[in-house]
């Protein structure tokens, strides 16, 4: 009550529904569509004189590097602008096409101006920009101005940002960038950091203002069912696009391109969800779950055909290992609500167990298990360690458990670096680890040997990518089935209220232990493949926090950022994390700092994670959802 009151007194009448810039609707539509086209065309111009900026943006008539992203954003802005302007096309964008146009335009501005700034910074001065570059910058801004004048959808009644907030955001961002630029031209060492920081803060601030301007994702009534065949075709097309986009992101050869890619991807994703298309897409996948699962698996498998370089396949398999481990952690953190800060140790246990039975010369166990047995060994040993750790520690709750698991993670690393025959029995080879692990051989096929399928060469890492994909599928199946069963409900009940859960007959300790053991063995399973992929297992990577992904802090962050308790959340989170770490090498030593700032801002903006489970969405956005909930109560 009081909230709505303050809102209405704060705002002049009808301000919530007024567009940010007032102009005739036709003018706004014209500017939006024209600006989009203009932006797209400007990508064909030369933006700079020098070809020393990566991607070669000096050619008139053909876009290069980041210009492709500007082109994409411009085309999407224009297309969505048309959908918003023509009432007959409403069915193609059932949500808020106006908002979607705005967000595409913001994506265009982001990538274009990022490119211009990057050119100016990297080549030392604005003089490096040609008139083409300035035209692109102006074009993207024209589209933005137009979209800010589009009429707002009647559903977007949340408290809109005031003019002062717009000015504050844009002025503050521009000011910071100017300071960074001044530092840069005076050759101050901090300039890169200031620029990057300014960029992150500006984007976050802009996102907050934009999210208030656009309002929550529109709720739609379910669309009519399409014939199954059409659904399948739609799914294939969507998955192919997703694969192409993903492969493009993985293949970005320099950091600037990846940043631009991320900008277009994020705003594009947001725009699609505002337009209602994302909702329609999920409906299609939801009603054909089995087919969708198979198609999704095949699409992922096709990755090695789309990206044929061994480096990309290696990246892919490492992403999968990281994601599989994150999914295992999600059992513990997301479902049972137990904070585990030493989880990477279970990945290590699995990797060491597999390495010991791999037949490597450096292994202290002189046995060679076939892969299925090695995988089971890794999972089982890891699960046993989970129980060993859990049995004494799960009797403590909350913060204490986190500290104990943190200790376990460190103990594991220190113990394996000392079991070298000097400080203790020789089991793990100490700091040198177990090296020269032979390639796996499954059904007589050696995964180390490349082979040719359909004219494409499938290299060593691609083989492992497929193997890991199968294991990933198994882990996803185990996770989703366990989560949606009596066991999963017991875990969630313990997370929600342990006292009430035990009063319902749930043996809290036993089920927490089960979560620990299952999570640990899933990580152990991933570890068995990791040992073979990397040729060696050494203690170093299994730390609590470090700059390279498979460590406990990154795993936890991937789960939380991705979305706790969901299947796809940790996978998305882990993928994003791994790629960010791989691609943003130009930040050098500032990487972790920028990363930390980004994490804080992300939690501020979207606390429920990228992929939110239904209940967590409600938990964090109760204020926005409350009217709808009350309505449904009244209706029922």
């Amino acid at each position: 009550m009081t909230d709505t009151k303050t809102l209405t007194t704060e705002l002049p009448d009808g301000a919530a529904l007024r567009p940010a810039l007032r102009m005739p609707v036709v003018v706004a539509q014209g500017l939006a569509i024209g600006g989009g086209v203009f932006t797209a065309v400007s990508a064909f111009l030369a933006w700079t004189y020098s070809s020393s900026f990566p991607g070669d943006l000096t050619i008139n008539g053909y876009p290069g590097g980041l210009q492709w992203l500007t082109l994409t954003a411009g085309v999407l802005t224009a297309l969505m602008g048309v959908l918003a302007a023509v009432p007959g096309l409403r069915v193609l964008a059932p949500g808020n096409p106006g908002n979607a146009t705005l967000l595409f335009a913001v994506g265009g501005v982001a990538v274009t101006w990022f490119t211009l700034i990057a050119i100016a910074v990297q080549l030392h001065g604005l003089v490096n920009l040609t008139s083409g570059g300035w035209i692109a910058g102006v074009a993207s801004l024209v589209a933005l101005v137009g979209t800010l004048g589009l009429p707002r959808a009647p559903g977007a009644t949340t408290c809109a940002p005031t003019r002062a907030e717009w000015l504050q955001t844009l002025g503050g961002g521009a000011g910071l960038l100017a300071v960074g630029y001044l530092l840069h031209v005076t050759d101050n060492g901090a300039s890169g950091l200031v620029m990057a920081g300014a960029g992150v803060v500006l984007i976050a601030r802009l996102c907050i203002v934009l999210s208030r301007y656009t309002g929550p994702t529109p709720t739609l009534r379910a669309a009519k069912r399409l014939p199954v065949a059409l659904d399948v075709v739609l799914m294939v097309v969507m998955l192919a696009i997703a694969l192409e986009v993903f492969a493009y992101g993985v293949d970005t050869p320099y950091g600037q391109l990846f940043v631009g890619f991320l900008a277009v991807l994020c705003f594009g994703f947001w725009a699609l969800s505002q337009s209602g298309l994302l909702r329609r897409a999920t409906e299609v996948f939801d009603r054909n779950r089995a087919v969708a699962a198979v198609l999704g698996f095949l699409t992922a498998a096709a990755f090695v055909f789309v990206q044929q370089s061994d480096a990309d396949a290696a990246l892919g398999v490492n992403v999968l290992i990281f994601a599989a481990t994150a999914l295992g952690l999600n059992v513990v953190v997301g479902l049972a609500g137990l904070l585990d800060l030493g989880y990477v140790a279970f990945l290590g246990v699995g990797a060491y167990a597999a390495a010991l039975v791999s037949g490597a010369v450096t292994s202290s166990v002189h046995a060679t298990f076939p892969f299925w047995a090695a995988a089971l060994t890794g999972a089982a040993v890891s699960g046993i360690f989970g129980v060993l750790l859990g049995a004494p520690t799960l009797r403590v709750r909350g913060d204490y458990l986190a500290i104990v698991t943190l200790g376990f993670g460190e103990i594991f690393r220190i113990v394996v670096s000392n079991l070298d025959g000097v400080s203790g029995p020789n089991v793990t080879g100490g700091p040198n680890g177990i090296v020269n692990i032979p390639d796996l051989s499954i059904l007589g096929f050696n995964l180390g040997n490349p082979h040719t399928i359909l004219g494409a060469t499938i290299g060593r890492f691609a083989n492992y990518f497929w193997l890991m994909l199968i294991i990933m599928a198994i882990i996803m199946l185990v996770f989703s089935r366990a989560a949606d069963s009596r066991i999963g409900r017991a875990w969630v009940a313990i997370r929600e209220d342990e006292t009430a859960a035990t009063a319902m007959g749930i043996n809290g300790f036993r089920f927490k232990l089960l979560a620990f053991a299952l999570g640990a063995s899933l990580a152990g399973l991933a570890g068995t493949v990791m040992a073979h992929v990397n040729f060696s297992v050494v203690p170093d990577p299994f730390v609590f926090a470090g700059p390279v992904p498979p460590n406990s802090a990154f795993l936890l962050a991937a789960v939380v950022i991705g979305g706790m308790g969901t299947v796809s959340g940790p996978i998305v989170g882990a993928t994003l994390f791994y790629l960010l770490q791989q691609k943003l090498t130009f930040l050098q030593s500032n990487e972790l700092l920028i990363f930390g700032v980004a994490l804080i801002l992300f939690m501020r903006l979207r606390p429920e994670g990228i992929i939110a489970s239904k209940s967590r969405k409600l938990e964090f956005h109760e204020a926005e959802e409350a009217p709808a909930a009350q309505l449904s109560t009244a209706g029922a």
Binding site: R486, G488, V492, A493, E496, A503, M504, S615, A636
Partner: protein, 288 residues
């Protein structure tokens, strides 16, 4: 489906058989004796009320019965067996409870809450949950059917997919009762089921408790609302300062001077033991 009822442990409610026997239950926290030697028997088919001023030890006694606390002395028998002192085993044995301050699983749906209540009567383990054989599907379908039947019973069937946190207060209480009943108890312990309810809701709860008894489940209820208690209960026990003051039917308890004294305080000479100033307003009205 029709052959099974939700009340397996008390399938034959031969009225008068002792179901719960608490003997000399003492609960001390350090120097404080919260419950000092209370006897209580609940027979099958009975509704027993437990009243007393604030701080009399009612909830502590409840917690002793349900295994949340291990009583310092005394023993609690359910159907002749000594109850194990762990809450989940107590529920397994056939005693389910609700909480004074509602403790639902807020971020689970209404149906899921009741399904969690089915936990002790289902057996699916982790392997079966992952492999999903025919046994899994049978048990899951059975659980869902029984949970839906209970939601029908308390009148929440059409809200099955809402999150528990979004239910209005009175319906949260109902859901808590449905969740407790899902464990197929022989005895249901309700801790202040009408706290914070308006008169209509209180009457509806009264009906609900009678309906629960008609399903063959004995009920032990803590309450402050005297009209509710005296309408409902076959016997009422009064707890004051951790001791049972009096036990009997509504008439006996209502006319007992010590009870009146305990609730209202003795006017002038105040020598009577247990004169607490914790007189709640609704009891004041009731005893005039």
């Amino acid at each position: 489906m029709t052959t099974e009822t939700t009340t397996v442990p008390a399938a034959a409610p031969a009225a008068g058989t002792p179901l719960l026997e608490a003997r000399d239950v003492v609960m001390r926290f350090g120097g404080l004796t919260a419950v000092g030697g209370v006897d209580l028997t609940v027979n099958t088919g009975e509704i027993i009320g437990l009243i007393g001023p604030n701080g009399a030890g009612k909830t502590t006694f409840f917690n002793c019965l349900t295994g949340l606390y291990v009583p310092t002395e005394g023993q609690v028998r359910y159907q002749g067996q000594i109850l194990p002192p762990t809450p989940h085993k107590v529920t397994q044995a056939g005693m389910a409870r609700t909480f004074q301050n509602i403790r639902l699983f807020h971020n689970m749906t209404v149906l899921e809450n009741v399904l969690v209540g089915r936990h002790t009567r289902t057996k699916v383990g982790i392997v079966s949950a992952i492999l999903r054989g025919p046994g899994y599907h049978r048990e899951e379908a059975d659980s869902r059917a029984k949970a839906m039947e209970l939601l029908e019973f308390v009148g929440l069937a059409d809200k099955r997919d809402m999150l528990a946190r979004n239910l209005p207060y009175g319906e949260q209480r109902k859901l808590e009762i449905a969740r407790a009943m899902a464990s197929e108890p022989g005895l249901l312990l309700l801790d202040e089921p009408t706290a914070g309810m308006n008169p209509q809701e209180t009457r509806a709860t009264e009906e609900l408790v009678f309906a629960i008894r008609d399903r063959g489940i004995a009920v032990l209820v803590i309450e402050h609302d005297m009209r509710f208690i005296f309408n409902l209960c076959d016997r009422v026990a009064v707890l004051v300062q951790g001791k049972k003051l009096v036990e009997g039917d509504a008439q006996t308890v209502q006319s007992d001077e010590r009870v009146i004294a305990a609730y209202l305080g003795t006017p002038m000479d105040g020598a009577e033991a247990g004169t607490e100033s914790t007189t709640s307003t609704e009891s004041t009205e009731e005893n005039q």
